[in-house]
């Protein structure tokens, strides 16, 4: 049994408290008793709001953890992984796949890179980081959010993912594909891609934050390609099926040119990367579709309806480079070489 310390005046004090409690309970009889769920709604996660702490019980099994945990003020106990896991461990909901080694998901536990610009709302970060300044579950999710109608299940996103705001909130360098032919939320047939694409928002049709099937959080099983990145492109742009403009340019060759190396280093939006086997941009790697094309590089009007004879559109990384695209990698000499030695028309002669 619970033993309590003796105190000479305690009996009187407790008698007074008991009387007050009795009066309160009689007044409360008229009210409908709150259900367990209602009583427990907030303390389900906000453990510091349990009545035991309010009444300063000294024999609690778990010491009160003040909110927030750290002076950073970025995180309270309710949003720690331990609290998430206390339900999402398979016994209530099953999110264990998100912790599984090798699972392809949005990276956690990393500090946002230089290219990430997380927005603020009313002076507070719209996508907060954990107390160590790293991405965690609570960066995108909050238990206070409602059901996501798009997904049809409670995903508790901080922002509606339908039009890519939640992705683009941080990934502002990835230009939107809204209203381009890569906007599959308008219908996959616009891109001539698989008809079984289920529109799941601007970004979600091609990318998923959890359970990705390919690099770059790809939502579908990638088709076979010369590089992992090609496989993503070829999911829709299949050989023999429109619209695949098969390039005569050699691909899947290892490239290590000074120009490419510099462009990769610069990480500029117009860099022309080569890729390693896993699809990551590398200094020594293979040319892939994405070396010249950037699927997020939107010039809406041009991408949909490129002008005849223009290299604008087609999601090319380097716009306005008609007649000069080769020189971007091969230098000015390539213009002469292509014209007289590599031109198909010249060869036919």
């Amino acid at each position: 049994m619970i033993r309590r310390s003796r105190c000479p005046w305690r009996a009187d004090w407790l008698a007074g408290v008991a009387l007050a409690a009795a009066i309160a309970s009689v007044s409360a009889l008229a009210a409908e008793p709150a259900s367990v769920g209602e009583q427990y709604k907030c303390p389900t996660c906000h453990i510091d709001r349990l009545k035991e702490y309010r009444s300063q019980q000294a024999d609690v099994l778990l010491p009160e953890e003040p909110t927030p945990l750290e002076p950073t003020g970025r995180q309270d106990v309710a949003s720690t992984p331990a609290m998430c896991l206390s339900c999402h461990d398979g016994f209530v909901k099953d999110s264990r796949i998100l912790w599984r080694e090798g699972h392809r998901a949005h990276p956690l536990g990393i500090e946002p890179g230089a290219g990430i610009a997380a927005p603020q709302v009313a002076g507070e970060p719209a996508f907060p980081l954990n107390q160590d300044g790293k991405v965690y579950c609570g960066s995108c999710h909050t238990a206070h959010a409602g059901e996501d109608e798009l997904v049809g299940a409670p995903t508790f996103m901080r922002m509606d993912p339908a039009n890519g705001q939640i992705c683009q909130g941080c990934h502002q360098r990835l230009h939107t594909v809204l209203d381009t032919s890569h906007d599959l939320s308008l219908g996959a047939d616009r891109a001539g891609g698989p008809r079984d694409f289920q529109p799941k928002g601007l970004c979600g049709t091609c990318h998923v934050a959890h359970g990705a099937r390919g690099p770059l959080l790809w939502a579908r099983t990638p088709a076979a390609g010369n590089t992992a990145v090609d496989g993503l492109c070829r999911t829709c742009h299949k050989i023999g099926k429109a619209p695949l403009h098969e390039s005569d340019h050699p691909i899947a060759v290892q490239v290590w040119s000074q120009q490419l190396r510099e462009s990769v280093r610069s990480k500029s939006t117009t860099a022309m990367p080569v890729f390693d086997a896993k699809g990551h941009a590398a200094q020594l790697g293979a040319i892939g579709c994405a070396t010249c094309h950037e699927p997020h590089r939107a010039d809406s009007a041009a991408d949909v309806e490129p002008e005849a004879g223009s290299s604008d559109g087609y999601f090319l990384r380097l716009q306005d480079s008609a007649g000069f695209l080769c020189a971007d990698c091969h230098g000015p000499r390539s213009l002469f070489l292509y014209k007289y030695f590599h031109s198909a028309q010249t060869r036919r002669r």
Partner: protein, 319 residues
């Protein structure tokens, strides 16, 4: 002068700062000692498992004190002999009949058959005592797939009880997997559940169900009639915050693990709080304790999910 008036006048004469200090000290004056059931770790039988355990969700003890560990992160069941030697592996990742996806709970039938709640594939999988695949039992309820969390066999082995977490029900199957009856439904009322998790069967055949988000244990007879319930939300001794595992000892005492608070508490068969497992320093701090099982010697096996450990504990005498 009545005593309470004397205290009142005393309080009125105290400087405000002294009064504030006294009020702050009040909780310590009424502090309580938590009753402790002594426990100490005696071994980690699967420490040499290769690969190491990953998210061990549940444990079960079979015939000859054979220990079954649901190594859920590795999609398998590790079978360890009473001597601590690893005997076999059942399951594994994949889509084959004998393979598992995100399993949670284990149950051993009186004939030694091991049942696994294969949550990710909505079925039970039966293995022999040595891990040989026997059969898979797909689970459906009114056309809806069932996400089973735990399974327990009746004392006579004729029926299987399954917690259908997604449907908030307990399903009763015959040993062939045919649905016989069910009870429950989402809610907080008697006999309803908010995410039923683990199960235990009492010596009299009663069915103990851990009702996680209602923070209670409900006890039913084999037909689903509620016999009693115990537990309340909170972190006081006797309260439950995230109850997960359950085991019943020979004396009918009920042990319940709490995965967030990190303790195991004991209740009488009637549901009265008895003690918290611990030592002279207070409650023993488990890290995310979930599965509980007792062997024939009364030793308690606890799986701790986050550190990936399964530890056998010797229990002392109840206070």
């Amino acid at each position: 002068m009545p005593r309470y008036l004397r205290y009142q006048s005393l309080l009125a004469s105290l400087p405000q700062r002294v009064l504030a200090a006294w009020l702050c000290a009040l909780p310590t004056l009424v502090s309580a000692a938590v009753p402790i059931w002594s426990v100490h770790a005696t071994g980690e039988p699967a420490a040499a498992a290769n690969p190491a355990l990953s998210w061990p969700a549940d444990v079960a003890v079979g015939r000859e004190d054979r220990l079954y560990i649901c190594d859920s992160g590795n999609q398998r069941v590790v079978i360890v002999a009473a001597t601590g030697n690893r005997l076999a592996i059942a399951g594994g990742a994949g889509a084959g009949d004998a393979e598992l996806r995100d399993p949670v709970g284990l149950g051993v039938a009186p004939d030694g058959t091991l049942y696994v709640a294969d949550r990710g594939r909505h079925r039970l999988v039966a293995f022999g005592p040595d891990g040989a695949f026997l059969r898979a039992i797909p689970l459906e309820y009114v056309g809806a797939p069932v996400s089973p969390v735990d399974v327990a066999a009746a004392t006579d082995g004729r029926e299987l009880y399954v917690t259908a977490s997604n449907l908030h029900r307990v399903l009763v199957l015959d040993s062939g997997g045919r649905l016989l009856r069910s009870w429950g439904g989402f809610g907080e009322g008697d006999g309803q559940f908010r995410f039923p998790a683990t199960l235990a069967i009492g010596a009299d055949g009663s069915v103990y169900v851990v009702d996680v988000l209602n923070t209670r244990v409900q006890v039913f007879d084999r037909d689903g009639t509620l016999l009693r319930k115990f537990g309340k939300p909170g972190v006081l001794p006797g309260s439950l915050f995230r109850p997960k595992g359950i085991a019943i000892d020979r004396g009918g005492r009920v042990l319940v693990s709490d995965s967030y608070v990190g303790v195991v508490q004991a209740f009488s068969a009637e549901g009265n709080f008895l003690a918290v497992l611990g030592d002279q320093d207070g409650p023993h701090r488990f890290i995310t304790p979930t599965g509980l099982a007792l062997d024939s010697a009364g030793r308690l096996v606890v799986s701790e999910m986050q550190p990936g450990k399964v530890i056998v504990h010797e229990l002392g005498a109840l206070p």
